[in-house]
């Protein structure tokens, strides 16, 4: 019973990771950029949602949409200012800029409102605990899992079935050739950032509702975990991010549940490294041998 409860705990935790990892892996897959600022966009989303609810007094859905819109704009602005000038630079140079952007967002936020946490109002989403054979499942965690699944399917659809998705993939393989097809590379990348960041914003609001506490540095750890989840699933592979996130959540819960909560991240990383050694391109990545 406890085991099942731990699995349930792990899946709800993992859905949150997955939710953040989806946007992460999308940007990552298309632009090949480790966007370390993703976790901070997530944080901004969370705060936008919070202020929308507490100051504008709106409900859940308007707050969610507002956060997503604000984050989409933020994502595009970040891309235009900080990443676009570096299109031809090494990826590691962009990574450093991304770290810079991440610090900037965090500390501007702290400068503006301090580092202390904020508590999300608990009344936004109806909340019920389902008890099944002694296992407690909160309606919110079902909601999160559902949201992640829907978003995953939606993203997968966008990237693989729509015109903009095809443009995104073309840009990711070969931006110059994509330009020759008439694709506006800058707009496509902006669209990628907008979608990815909007997802981060949504995740931020949902995180706030589920965990209550939000603060300016809240994005660092989930951002890192989402990065891990995205790599675990295979870079750029959307269902991979979902599975990677869930797996990470379940591993963490099981380790904590066994009483080794301090070893939690350690075990998660050991498993991660082992998986990578046996599947060097992540769980879902095809390990294509470079054609020589």
């Amino acid at each position: 019973m406890e085991l099942i409860q731990q699995l349930v705990n792990g899946i709800s935790l993992g859905s949150i990771y997955a939710l953040i990892a989806l946007g992460y892996t999308m940007v990552y897959g298309i632009v090949r950029l480790i966007n370390f600022a993703h976790g901070d966009v997530f944080m901004i989303g969370s705060f936008v949602g919070f202020y929308a609810v507490t100051m504008l007094g709106v409900g859940f859905f308007p707050a969610l949409l507002l956060a997503m819109a604000a984050c989409a704009v933020l994502g595009v602005v970040i891309e235009r200012i900080a990443y676009k000038p570096l299109r031809n630079a090494t990826r590691i140079a962009v990574l450093i800029t991304a770290i810079g952007v991440s610090l900037l967002i965090e500390y501007v936020m702290i400068y503006l409102r301090g580092a202390q946490p904020e508590a999300y109002p608990g009344t936004l989403l109806p909340k019920q605990n389902l008890e099944l054979f002694g296992v407690v499942i909160s309606s919110q965690s079902l909601f999160i899992l559902g949201t992640s699944l829907v978003l995953m399917i939606l993203l997968q659809f966008i990237v693989h079935r729509t015109k903009i998705g095809k443009a995104m993939r073309a840009v990711s393989h070969d931006a110059e050739a994509a330009r020759l097809m008439g694709i506006n590379v800058d707009n496509t990348i902006s669209a990628t950032f907008a979608i990815g960041s909007a997802l981060a914003g949504a995740a931020g609001v949902i995180f706030g509702i589920y965990y209550t506490k939000i603060d300016p540095l809240m994005g660092i750890l989930p951002g890192l975990k989402a990065f891990v989840a995205a790599v675990l699933g295979g870079i750029g592979i959307i269902p991979g991010a979902m599975v990677g996130g869930l797996l990470l959540g379940v591993i963490e819960s099981l380790v904590s549940g066994l009483g080794y909560s301090l070893w939690r991240d350690g075990v998660a990383f050991i498993i991660l490294i082992l998986i990578l050694i046996f599947r060097p391109a992540g769980l879902f990545g095809k390990n294509v041998r470079e054609k020589v």
Binding site: A170, L180, G182
Partner: protein, 235 residues
């Protein structure tokens, strides 16, 4: 139809094109020959908007297109088959072709062009769902050309379409180039395989270290001693 007027192109400090001028008339096949690093690819990239000329002008159907973005130039009817094929490796043949028609909205026309491309390259129809990266070199070249045709270009820029291809395929490709031309598309062709290129072209330019050094009717150049010495392997 296309008029390149004294353009200069730089890569950083490298002066790759030095006052190059050339002209392509409607319905022609014009070929550009020259040694490695002469600047042929650079010229095509400048025409299609991937590079911006520092000075000079490019006039296409009466309007200047110099310095415009590549995606705008495609809209005007210039398609570029880049050097090294550059197909989208992780996408299927079909998706690659669809991307060729990215800017078009006419569903019916696109369907017609699909049929046309498959008629030119039956091999591509067989491989419709295959990932482009797993095609052989010749098939990828066909795909690259087919993809460019999907934009219904009036002017097709071809950069070394025969590079790395087996002799049989080289012949096929050249035959197809002539077919495309006959169906009304103007062609600017860059080739190392000067024999073949000159034999299908109407006119030719010889480019050397970023300068046009010779031009004229293809047959004339083919007969010229100078060209023979430098590009056709003597005799």
């Amino acid at each position: 139809m296309l008029k390149v007027e004294a353009i200069d192109v730089f890569y950083g400090n490298i002066h790759a094109l030095k006052g190059v001028s050339l002209e392509v008339n409607k319905g022609e096949i014009v070929t550009l020959i020259g040694a490695n690093g002469a600047g042929k690819t650079t010229l095509l990239k400048t025409i299609s908007g991937l590079l911006k000329p520092k000075s000079g002008d490019i006039v296409y159907e009466g309007a200047s297109i110099a310095g415009k973005a590549a995606q705008t130039i495609v809209k005007h009817g210039i398609s570029h088959v880049p050097e090294g094929r550059r197909v989208f490796a992780n996408m299927t043949v079909e998706e690659n072709l669809e991307l060729g028609a990215f800017l078009r909205k006419d569903k019916d026309g696109i369907q017609q062009d699909f049929a046309k491309v498959f008629q030119l390259f039956p091999r591509l129809e067989e491989r419709r769902k295959q990932l482009a990266g797993t095609l052989s070199g010749g098939e990828q070249q066909m795909l690259a050309i087919g993809r460019a045709l999907m934009a219904r270009p009036k002017l097709l820029l071809l950069d070394e379409p025969s590079m790395g291809l087996a002799p049989l395929l080289v012949k096929t490709i050249f035959r197809i180039i002539e077919e495309i031309n006959e169906s009304g598309t103007t062609i600017l062709l860059v080739e190392q395989n000067a024999h073949m290129a000159l034999s299908i072209a109407d006119r030719a330019y010889v480019i050397e270290s970023g300068r046009v050094v010779l031009s004229g009717a293809a047959s004339e150049l083919q007969a010229s001693e100078q060209v023979k010495q430098a590009y056709l392997g003597g005799h």
